[in-house]
């Protein structure tokens, strides 16, 4: 049991500094504005996903656009003609990172109002938030509570 405690403490000690420094995920965020599709790709809020491949497919899986992100992680293109389905943007950010974003057909054909843009940006900021240390510790605590519950139930059974 002693080594389990040591392993658990090691896990917590390792995750605290690393979380502050590095915890983030790959994100692609896209929206429609003035007949264009704009996308922003990043690893969290600070590190932009530059020179990454973006593939755009329709619901039938046909690739209708392929491009690269610029040094700021941005990529934009004109809405292709004759679109009749939702579009799926896949960001392939190398070394095992990929993320998707779906743009519905309604969004493609509707004209966005001025109110839509702040809402969209709010969504983006929410996505870019790094995982908080409190949430990570809560997650680990839940795993151990479940393990203790399983131990209790198994003991009761036997």
């Amino acid at each position: 049991m002693k080594i389990e405690k040591i392993l658990f403490i090691c896990l917590v000690l390792v995750l605290i500094p690393l979380n502050i420094a590095f915890a983030h995920r790959v994100i692609i965020f896209a929206w429609v504005e003035d007949g264009m599709i704009y996308s922003e790709s990043s690893f969290g809020s600070k590190r932009k996903a530059k020179d990454c491949t973006i593939m755009v497919e329709n619901e039938k899986g046909f690739i209708i656009h392929k491009g690269q992100t610029d040094p700021e992680g941005n990529h934009s293109f004109k809405i292709p003609k004759n679109i009749d389905s939702d579009l799926i943007l896949t960001l392939v950010a190398g070394t095992g990172h990929q993320a998707q974003w779906k743009i519905s057909i309604d969004e493609l054909v509707a004209k966005p109002s001025d109110k839509d843009i702040p809402t969209i940006m709010g969504k983006k900021e929410n996505l870019e938030k790094s995982p908080s240390i409190l949430k990570i510790l809560t997650g680990i605590a839940i795993i151990f509570i479940l393990a203790m519950a399983a131990k209790f139930l198994k003991r009761k059974k036997s």
């Binding site: 020179d51 491949t53 497919e57 392939v92 839940i142 795993i143």
Partner: protein, 201 residues
């Protein structure tokens, strides 16, 4: 490696959920009382691994650790990975709740296979132990990326090119994960052999 919501078709999501549920049931049945804490520790490591990204050059890499989780836990890896993925989805919006079943299958099935393929090699010699760990880590990511590609391909055959690009992008992770798993297994075998199931036999 998490598949986001809204990408996969209904039948693929349903199949993933059914396989994940069946696997979880078997996994829960197979967890023995004395190893519940090991399951919790490895589930926690898996839960945290995806959150820690290390910048290497222009790229950003994170571990997945399904290889070592599977190697050490066998079928018990399925409920461990399910719990970790569920918490990642709820707390950090990694993947999603509708894709949870598919994500569990993608990451846990290769883990369980790694257990049966590479566990017999552990403990025979230090070189063989490291090699088994390396292969378990590498194989798990390779097979997971193939399953991820298949999930996209079953959704639509035209996703083939995307699937291939995704599998290719995972090659560096396979090698890194293999090395990390190799070292971890060799270290655990020295300091805490009880965690390796083969040592109990």
């Amino acid at each position: 490696m998490h598949i986001s919501e809204g990408v996969l078709s209904g039948p693929v999501l349903a199949t993933g959920a059914v396989i994940a549920l069946a696997g979880t049931y078997i996994g829960l049945k197979k967890i023995d009382y004395d190893h519940i804490v090991h399951v919790a520790i490895l589930a926690s490591a898996f839960f945290v691994a995806s959150l820690i990204h290390v910048n290497i050059g222009p790229a950003s890499v994170h571990l997945i650790l399904n290889g070592i989780v599977g190697l050490l836990l066998g079928f018990a890896a399925i409920p461990a990975i399910l719990t970790a993925l569920l918490l990642q989805a709820v707390f950090f919006q990694y993947g999603g709740l509708t894709t949870l079943g598919v994500n569990v299958v993608v990451m846990a099935v290769p883990a369980v296979l790694a257990h049966y393929l590479f566990l017999p090699l552990l403990g025979k010699s230090s070189t063989l132990t490291f090699t088994a760990g390396f292969l378990a880590g590498l194989f798990s990511i390779l097979f997971s990326s193939i399953l991820l590609g298949l999930a996209l391909w079953f959704t639509n055959q035209n996703f083939f090119e995307t699937s291939l690009v995704i599998i290719t992008a995972y090659i560096p992770v396979m090698i890194i994960e293999g090395i990390v798993t190799g070292f971890c297994v060799a270290f655990l075998l020295k300091v805490y052999p009880e965690i390796i199931p083969v040592k109990k036999k």
